[in-house]
């Protein structure tokens, strides 16, 4: 039998992990883009807020932030609903997981994007403006594609870290790979074997993503001449 009958359970866990990671990636990419533009804006207040966010989040361990947010979002929400005198909203743990992970990794993506935006040569932007492009079009046609080339290695790194960080969500009660394999191991008395299976699934995911990332990096580097060594 496939994994002694625990195959479907583990498959569901794997799917939950992938879903969680991809959704968090998309949301944190968005936060990262917004954060980077705040950090590069000329408004001192916005810059300060973004700097505070990235410094604070990056100096506190992700698990601590997870627990802090996980327990407190609900309490805060309860207080708001009580104050508004409406019915209590119970957040689903999956959504809480996505929000917390995105909030944490948004800070890392902010730094990645800030560095990448700053690496785009000024001349390109000036040339685009000289062609009469609107600022939005400059962003879409010149700044963004160029920036992605510089940001990709960082994005890849963050993605790999994010995938591995999703292993922690079982601590806040989500049924991911870790939870599924631990449950399977405990009820079949083969904890060692099933933990290895979990590790192998993570290894497969990270291997696959590093292959995709290499391909993407090559794709975005089309037309860039490297130095011959």
């Amino acid at each position: 039998m496939f994994l002694e009958g625990y195959g479907p359970l583990i498959l569901r866990g794997t799917w939950a992990t992938i879903e969680l990671a991809v959704l968090s990636l998309l949301l944190s990419l968005l936060i990262g883009l917004v954060g980077a533009s705040l950090k590069l804006s000329s408004n001192r207040l916005l810059r300060g807020v973004a700097t505070g966010y990235t410094t604070l989040i990056r100096s506190i361990p992700d698990l601590v932030i997870m627990l802090l947010l996980f327990y407190n979002i609900q309490i805060l929400l309860n207080q708001i609903t009580e104050w508004l005198e409406v019915e209590q909203i119970v957040i689903n743990p999956f959504l809480a997981g996505v929000v917390t992970l995105s909030f944490i990794y948004g800070a890392y993506f902010t730094e990645t994007f800030r560095g990448a935006f700053q690496s785009v040569p000024r001349g390109l932007i000036e040339a685009a403006l000289a062609y009469g492009m609107s600022p939005w079009r400059v962003f879409k046609r010149v700044l963004f594609p160029q920036m992605m080339r510089f940001a990709l290695p960082g994005i890849g790194n963050n993605w790999q870290v994010l995938i591995k960080a999703t292993a922690l969500v079982s601590i806040i009660g989500l049924s991911d790979i870790v939870k599924a394999t631990q449950d399977a191991g405990k009820s079949s008395m083969q904890l060692f074997y099933f933990t290895l299976v979990g590790a192998f699934i993570y290894l497969a995911i990270t291997t696959l993503s590093s292959l995709v990332l290499t391909w993407l990096e090559r794709r975005y580097a089309v037309g860039v001449r490297g130095a011959e060594l």
Binding site: S59, L67, L68, Y71, T166, L168, F192, A199
Partner: protein, 237 residues
């Protein structure tokens, strides 16, 4: 807030009454894992850049597996997985070692950070300026002396900025230690949370403590860099 600090400051900082806990425990874990990881990583990094694939291959596999899986899974494997094996329980020495959550935690952390550190050191060994190696050869140094006097010291110095990152990441990673019943800062915070239900204060204090340790580490590594990377700076008169 004040009451929690008054009641639990000792547990948060160094002792919960009969053993190390809180900041002291986290630092002790960090120091042990970094020390074991570092000592193992230097020879492994040299093996990682070896020309012989039979030496290079196993080290590559080790770093690949340990960097490709989450530390939490590795900890679970060592803490609950290994101890569920009959072979381990049967052997007195292994039984005594794996029964202690602390030992399993240090083992998992050291192996994990060692994998990352090996890759860092291997990277800086590979990027050593060829002139340095050629000059050493021209002096007639043997291979061993070449490594001892030229390659390893230079590679370790140039690895410092990356190594400081790894140390911070390891500090963040030590938070999973509480799942193996090690009373680190987060374990204390969880206990405080379940005793007082003041989760914001309980975890907020933990977050502040971790941030302080991270800032101290950053400051410390900056001092190290000023001292040991002085030769990389542009020279003035």
């Amino acid at each position: 807030m004040i009451e929690i600090i008054q009641d639990y400051w000792q547990a948060y900082l160094w002792s919960d009454g009969y053993r190390l806990s809180g900041v002291a425990m986290t630092l002790w874990l960090l120091i042990l894992s970094i020390a074991f990881g570092f000592v193992l990583a230097v020879p492994l990094a040299i093996a990682r850049v070896a020309r012989n694939p039979l030496i290079r291959g196993p080290v590559w596999l080790y770093t690949y597996v340990f960097r490709g899986t989450p530390l939490y899974i590795q900890l679970l494997l060592f803490y609950s997985g290994v101890y569920s094996l009959q072979v381990v329980r049967g052997n007195q020495l292994l039984d005594a070692f794996f029964r202690e959550g602390f030992n399993c935690t240090v083992l998992a952390f050291a192996l994990n950070t060692c994998a990352y550190t090996t890759e860092i050191f291997a990277g800086t060994i590979r990027s050593i300026p060829y002139g340095e190696v050629e000059a050493a050869r021209a002096y007639g140094m043997s291979r061993f002396m070449l490594y001892r006097r030229i390659i390893v010291p230079s590679a370790l110095r140039r690895a410092l900025p990356f190594y400081s990152n790894e140390a911070i990441l390891l500090l963040h990673a030590t938070t999973v230690a509480f799942t193996a019943t090690v009373p680190d800062i987060l374990k204390v915070a969880r206990d405080v949370n379940s005793a007082t239900y003041a989760s914001f204060e309980a975890f907020g204090i933990a977050a502040l403590l971790y941030a302080c340790i991270a800032f101290v580490l950053v400051w410390l590594f900056r001092r190290f860099e000023i001292r040991w990377l002085a030769f990389m700076k542009p020279q003035g008169h």
